[in-house]
């Protein structure tokens, strides 16, 4: 909990340090702040405590989610460079400060015990993301992405709030723990019918945020238009926080009325898998492909959420971690290659600009390959075990057809992830040696090695959760 206060103060102080220090120093400072945040979060381990008038609860699960979120933010900051470095109108201090604030929002979202905390956390995260999406002010694509994200995000918040209100009307409480008790203690017949409408609206609001189909339509445009570094942040931090909140709500509050929402979630997860994977296969741009791939991963994660086994928590955590590591590495290589190709190719983010990357940049090619293999779920990578745990959890609950569909859809996934690998190794191109800054190199190799290690020894992390 102290991490929230510390990170907020650090964010504010960052705004002032922007007057005196250049971007490089600010980056190191922000990394330091996030490291302190990670340390403070880890200190609460095994201390289940309530804060802020019982509205905020630290449990080991919430600590794990906060750690994943802060790790992702740490990697994103380490990979950040420029924000359009030579432009006098960019303000790196502001961007780093907003990143820190959004991490605070994400931590609130994973450890709330009261609906106000959920709402405030969600809004802190979202409002910060609207700003970051539009941070490339003169680029019309970035503007459009920011407006779309803002309108859709605010719309989803409205729906979520109406859901919360109806649930409050039915149960007279905003506290997660009270809500679960009240729902368990009341007979289903004597519950007002608008409780179920409220539950459904809350689910819709949260599914908007994690971009599950049919509420995904804003995702590809927003991910495509935002500066790549913030797309990376959105597809890791925002997604993890959204799923943690969804999982917390479904397992904690509405676990008692499992049968009312489970079919909806199945249907949505299957639809998400189909739409995400099939559309991704048609994309020419790697950035858009990764956006659709993030939609399809939302589908896999929804399957775990609905399986509701005792091992589900650790599965969601493991999947978030493996997905975060792989996505960060994939986007990092995308940033380098598209920056190199800007001016050389008409569309620097397409598959065609990756052609021949392996010849002069074997290291980058290796990192990109491992991250794509992990996203596709090939054995020896973390992504394989993530999918394996999800499927075994679902089988334990006797969920057969969604799992079969998910396995089929992973096969589709292999097709479009391997398109990238083929472009790197088997096509001819003329990419020269790309200069990689030292911090960038460390973060990239960290993700790659962690993906491989988790792929060989998944229990190192799985047993922790």
């Amino acid at each position: 909990m102290t991490a929230i206060i510390a990170l907020s103060l650090f964010g504010i102080s960052n705004l002032f340090w922007g007057f005196w220090f250049p971007r490089k120093v600010l980056q190191i400072l922000t990394l330091l702040f996030l490291a302190i945040g990670i340390g403070l979060t880890a200190m609460d381990w095994n201390h289940e405590l309530l804060w802020f008038g019982n509205m905020f609860r630290t449990t080991n699960t919430s600590i794990n989610f906060s750690l994943i979120i802060q790790l992702a933010a740490f990697l994103v900051v380490a990979l950040s460079r420029g924000f359009g470095a030579d432009d006098e109108h960019t303000h790196p201090a502001e961007y780093y400060a907003i990143l820190l604030f959004s991490v605070v929002g994400a931590i609130l979202m994973v450890s709330f015990d009261h609906m106000i905390m959920l709402f405030v956390g969600l809004e802190i995260l979202s409002v910060a993301m609207y700003v970051l999406t539009g941070s490339d002010k003169r680029n019309l694509k970035s503007n459009e992405a920011a407006l779309k994200y803002f309108l859709m995000g605010a719309f989803a918040t409205g729906i979520l709030l109406f859901g919360i209100t109806l649930v409050y009307g039915a149960t007279k409480s905003f506290y997660i723990s009270n809500l679960a008790n009240i729902i368990a203690a009341t007979a289903p017949e004597s519950m007002p019918s608008f409780l179920y409408i409220g539950v459904l609206l809350m689910l819709i609001g949260l599914l908007f945020k994690v971009s599950a189909a049919p509420f995904h339509f804003w995702t590809p445009d927003v991910y495509d238009g935002a500066p790549t570094i913030f797309t990376m942040f959105m597809s890791t931090v925002v997604k993890t926080a959204g799923f943690a909140a969804l999982y917390h709500i479904l397992s904690g509050v509405f676990g008692g009325i499992y049968s009312t929402w489970v079919l909806t979630i199945y249907f949505i997860s299957m639809l998400t898998l189909i739409i995400g994977n099939v559309t991704a296969a048609y994309q020419l741009s790697v950035k858009r492909m990764l956006a659709y791939s993030s939609i399809s991963h939302a589908g896999y994660m929804l399957m775990t959420v609905s399986a509701m086994q005792s091992s589900s928590t650790s599965t969601v955590l493991y999947y978030s971690l493996s997905y975060t590591l792989a996505t960060v590495a994939a986007f990092a290589v995308l940033i380098l290659v598209s920056e190199y190709q800007t001016g050389r190719k008409e569309k620097p983010e397409d598959y065609s600009s990756f052609e021949g990357l392996a010849k002069n940049n074997p290291g980058l090619a290796f990192c990109f390959t491992i991250s794509l293999l992990s996203l596709a779920g090939i054995p020896m990578t973390a992504g394989f075990w993530g999918k394996f745990f999800i499927f075994s959890d679902s089988f334990n609950r006797n969920i057969i057809y969604p799992v079969i569909l998910a396995i089929l859809m992973s096969a589709v996934g292999i097709y479009y992830y391997f398109k990238g690998i083929i472009a790197i190794y088997f096509k001819n191109g003329d990419i020269e040696k790309i200069e990689v800054p030292i911090l960038f190199k460390i973060a990239l190799w960290f993700c790659t090695i962690a993906t491989l290690v988790l792929g060989v020894y998944p229990n190192i992390v799985k047993s922790l959760f």
């Binding site: 609906m115 106000i116 709402f119 405030v120 809004e123 409002v127 609207y130 700003v131 539009g134 002010k137 003169r138 019309l140 694509k141 503007n143 459009e144 992405a145 920011a146 407006l147 779309k148 803002f150 309108l151 605010a154 719309f155 918040t157 409205g158 729906i159 709030l161 109406f162 919360i164 209100t165 109806l166 409050y168 009307g169 007279k172 409480s173 905003f174 608008f194 590809p220 445009d221 495509d224 238009g225 858009r288």
Partner: protein, 109 residues
Amino acid sequence: MQSIPDIIRTIPLAHYILLSSALFCIGILGVLTRRNAIIVFMAIELMLNAVNLLLAAFSSYYSDPSGQIFVFFIMAVAAAEVAVGLAIIVMIYRNIQSIDIGILNKLKN
């Protein structure tokens, strides 16, 4: 003299729910059909105000202040959101001299 919760309770709760749902649906329709970014924005605010109204009604019906506290949070956060949203709209207006969301289709493939 009647206290305010008593006055609120002279109208049945179902009426509040219907009124707020109607306002909420008008807001949703506005978001889905209007093309002007500012109007869409106003429709979203209408949705939030429907929520506020319903929260206040529930809160006084149940004599439980937490609903009204939530209303304050919604108002404060919505104000922050408006600031960012208007900034985004101004940024777009500077670039394309229009706030029609139909014009913004650069990202569609």
